[in-house]
């Protein structure tokens, strides 16, 4: 009596068992593959990002001259010193001027490029690549070309040669403070390097706009050009525009290469990273102050980014 019941129960039972074993195996397999793929990156992130962040947090509470394993605890002194250091504060001022120039300029130029490239009927791939190409160029290389060739201060520099043709005296682009021509050199270098990248972001967004919307607009009597751009294109680009502004600002905060290579660490144009580099990694080797400064800077970037996101409505669903 019990036998048939047993036999009838058996297949189901074994089936269940087999199924759960298979499921368990799959889960184990998934976990294995998860770690195979993610593991190396997590390890890299831990060693090269989180550990140094924690380490510099520790360093920021110590007097650490010429050593990364200090012993003299100074509490918040490094933070106080950095926040009262007029050089650090003026480096934030330098950054602000830079951002005021570079963020809107990059935004306008990359959007304009995207609109133009999007309308081109022939050789589209060529135009896209040609504007995107500078993104692949190293900041150091570009800085050297800007410094030694284009904006060379002597009479045979490229810009000065061109100006010479219309009778203008040679200008020492990087050395002149009155007017501050070095901003022109710095800003054009970065503009050339990064506009192509943001152009690609805008281009992708433009191609995602449904053409029917434009057709509908024309049917409703909208004129092609500014009216359509203002009321259709721009609103639909909003999420991309916000991302571009955020990324641009963060990139501006991290300005280092072009300032360092074009101007060195001069007092009047030293953005935060150049100043911190000079303080911590240059000949001064003050890791305590440098760490405190970089954490203050990281905090400022985080706060500004969150605020900017809030104000511009970052992540809010587009309408």
């Amino acid at each position: 009596m019990s036998a048939p019941a047993k036999t009838s129960a058996d297949p189901a039972a074994t089936g269940e068992r087999r199924g759960s074993r298979r499921r368990r195996k799959t889960i184990a397999g998934n976990t294995l593959w998860f770690w195979v793929f993610v593991g190396p990156f997590v390890v890299g992130l831990l060693i090269f990002s989180y550990l140094p962040i924690i380490w510099s947090l520790v360093l920021s509470f110590f007097e650490a001259y010429n050593t990364a394993t200090p012993s003299k605890f100074v509490g918040l002194q490094n933070y106080v010193d950095m926040l009262t250091d007029h050089n650090f504060l003026s480096s934030l001022g330098t950054f602000t001027i830079f951002a005021v120039f570079i963020v809107p300029l990059t935004f306008v130029l990359s959007l304009a490029l995207a609109l133009l490239v999007n309308q081109v009927k022939i050789a589209r791939a060529f135009f896209r690549s040609v504007f995107f190409l500078p993104t692949a160029c190293s900041y150091v290389v570009a800085s050297l070309i800007w410094k030694l060739s284009i904006f060379n201060g002597v009479r045979f520099g490229m810009a000065n040669t061109l100006l010479g043709w219309i009778g203008v005296e040679p200008i020492s682009w990087l050395a002149s403070l009155d007017p501050p021509w070095y901003w022109l050199v710095i800003v054009t270098a970065r503009l050339w390097l990064q506009a192509g990248f943001y152009m690609i972001l805008f281009l992708a967004a433009l191609q995602n706009i449904n053409p029917e919307l434009y057709e509908a607009a024309y049917v409703d009597g909208a004129k092609p050009g500014w009216q359509v751009f203002r009321h259709i294109t721009l609103p639909l680009l909003r999420p991309t525009s916000i991302s571009v502004l955020l990324l641009c600002l963060i990139a501006a905060y991290q300005a280092f290469d072009e300032f360092y290579n074009l101007l060195g660490a001069v007092e009047y144009a030293r953005p935060p990273l150049v100043y911190l580099y000079h303080l911590a990694l240059g000949s001064q080797q003050n890791f305590g102050l440098g760490s405190a400064g970089s954490l203050i800077l990281a905090a400022i970037i985080a706060v500004v980014t969150v605020l900017q996101g809030k104000i511009l409505g970052f992540g809010r669903p587009s309408d």
Binding site: S243, L276, S283, G290
Partner: protein, 427 residues
């Protein structure tokens, strides 16, 4: 929301990554020693000889790197690997000295923080027998609390060289005061040629000489700021006057330490070191004269910064004794190599009096004049003057020279930083 939007994930991750990288910068150079330049152990014919790594900055003159390699190869008692460093040598050296992965033997400039941070070892034992053969200033600049920490390799006086023909043509005598220098620079400026080249930063390199030529100094004997007062302010103000006279070359492809500007006829005068004399002679022949940085006025003396490079042994070296032996061999015993290094590429004054007396290349013409000026007006660095003080002083100069800021106010600012450092160092 359309799928194309590069949304929150990207920018947040990017933000984290970048801020992480930023903080990583500060802490991680210490760990990333990379190539130490030291030969890998146990290789080839080395046998049981110790391995040493010797670091140099990049000298501009052709043949210097080959010479350094030649000396290292000729040393019988260790395998010496030479690391030649283009670019920012000071920063690379500073991070190299944080760990045992750095150099065993290196060239550099001495300052008190190297001792406070236990980066260098005293070399009194290898210097004992030859101390009297070095100039007192070159010993003092490498001495702290009675211990000698470095062996001077070369002396590099920094002066102003000028093209005699251009001054003669304009009927100008070699300037004797700063005012003379400014007016000469103005008169020598034409639409093709500028009066003087003092560096693309507008003349920061002349800050030290200007200070000393006004009777001041970086730090006084009892370690107080020595760059304060009216006369110093006046001297810095003169540098601004020179900058504002529109007679200096700015934005040149090479900087003040390279003679290209004067060689190519871009300027009539150039502030530069004696190392450039062979290069200038090749381009200009005998058409070169030399003056020290001129005095502020009749009350003071001209000034010649007597710079140079010094050899040190890293305290973190695994073979301190072998490293010291090598330094003694190369920079004390092997006089033919010291002579080669000082005279066959650029011109430098050999720090050993006995060698300098024999240096025939420095006994005629403009080189001999430069040596004489160095003897009469030379000053060397004070080891208590730290890089941080140096930065404060450079900022002072930048603000005064280029921005035309009030020298007295800038001096007060720099004085505050320097006093902070002094109280940290000496209590």
């Amino acid at each position: 929301m359309p799928a194309h939007v590069p949304n929150a994930g990207l920018s947040r991750r990017d933000l984290l990554k970048r801020t992480g990288g930023l903080a990583a910068l500060a802490a991680f150079t210490a760990a990333c020693g990379g190539n130490t330049g030291r030969p890998s152990s146990g290789g080839g014919s080395g046998g049981s000889k110790p391995n040493l790594s010797q670091w140099f900055h990049q000298y501009g003159e052709t043949g210097t790197q080959q010479a350094a390699l030649k000396y290292a190869k000729a040393y019988p008692d260790a395998n010496v690997a030479v690391q030649w460093t283009p670019g920012d040598y000071d920063a690379k050296l500073a991070s190299g000295l944080l760990s045992s992965k750095g150099p065993d033997v290196f060239e550099g400039h001495f300052n008190i923080s190297m001792v406070k941070s236990n980066q260098v070892v005293p070399l009194d034992d290898i210097m004992a027998d030859v101390k009297d053969d070095f100039q007192p200033g070159d010993l003092a600049t490498n001495t702290l609390d009675g211990k000698i920490y470095g062996v001077r390799m070369i002396i590099d006086p920094q002066v102003i060289y000028y093209k005699k023909s251009l001054l003669d043509k304009a009927g100008i005598k070699p300037p004797e005061t700063i005012d003379d220098l400014i007016s000469a620079a103005k008169e020598l400026t034409t639409n093709k040629v500028k009066g003087i080249f003092v560096g693309n930063d507008g003349g920061n390199v002349m800050g030290g000489p200007a200070l000393y030529s006004s009777g001041g100094e970086y730090l006084t004997k009892d370690n107080k700021p020595g760059f304060t007062g009216d006369r110093a302010a006046q001297a810095f103000g003169k540098l601004h006057e020179l900058y504002a006279s529109k007679s200096i070359l700015l934005g040149a492809p090479t900087d003040w330490w390279d003679p290209t500007a004067i060689n190519q006829g871009l300027v009539a005068m150039q502030f530069i070191g004696m190392w450039a004399v062979p290069g200038m002679q090749k381009a200009l022949g005998d058409d070169i004269g030399v003056i020290p940085f001129p005095k502020l006025d009749a009350q003071a003396k001209p000034a010649v910064y007597s710079g140079g490079w010094t050899q040190f042994v890293s305290a973190k070296s695994a073979n301190v004794d072998a490293a010291k032996k090598f330094v003694k061999w190369l920079w004390i015993d092997k006089s033919e190599y010291q002579e080669d290094w000082s005279l066959n590429y650029g011109f430098h004054i050999p720090p050993r009096k006995s060698l300098a007396a024999k240096a025939s290349k420095l006994q005629s013409g403009v080189a001999a004049d430069t040596v004489k000026l160095t003897q009469d007006y030379g000053y060397t660095d004070n080891p208590a003057w730290t890089p941080k003080m140096g930065t404060a002083f450079t900022d002072l100069l930048t603000n005064v020279i280029k921005k035309g800021a009030d020298p007295a106010a800038e001096i007060t600012k720099a004085e505050k930083t320097v006093n902070g450092e002094l109280s940290r160092l000496f209590g």
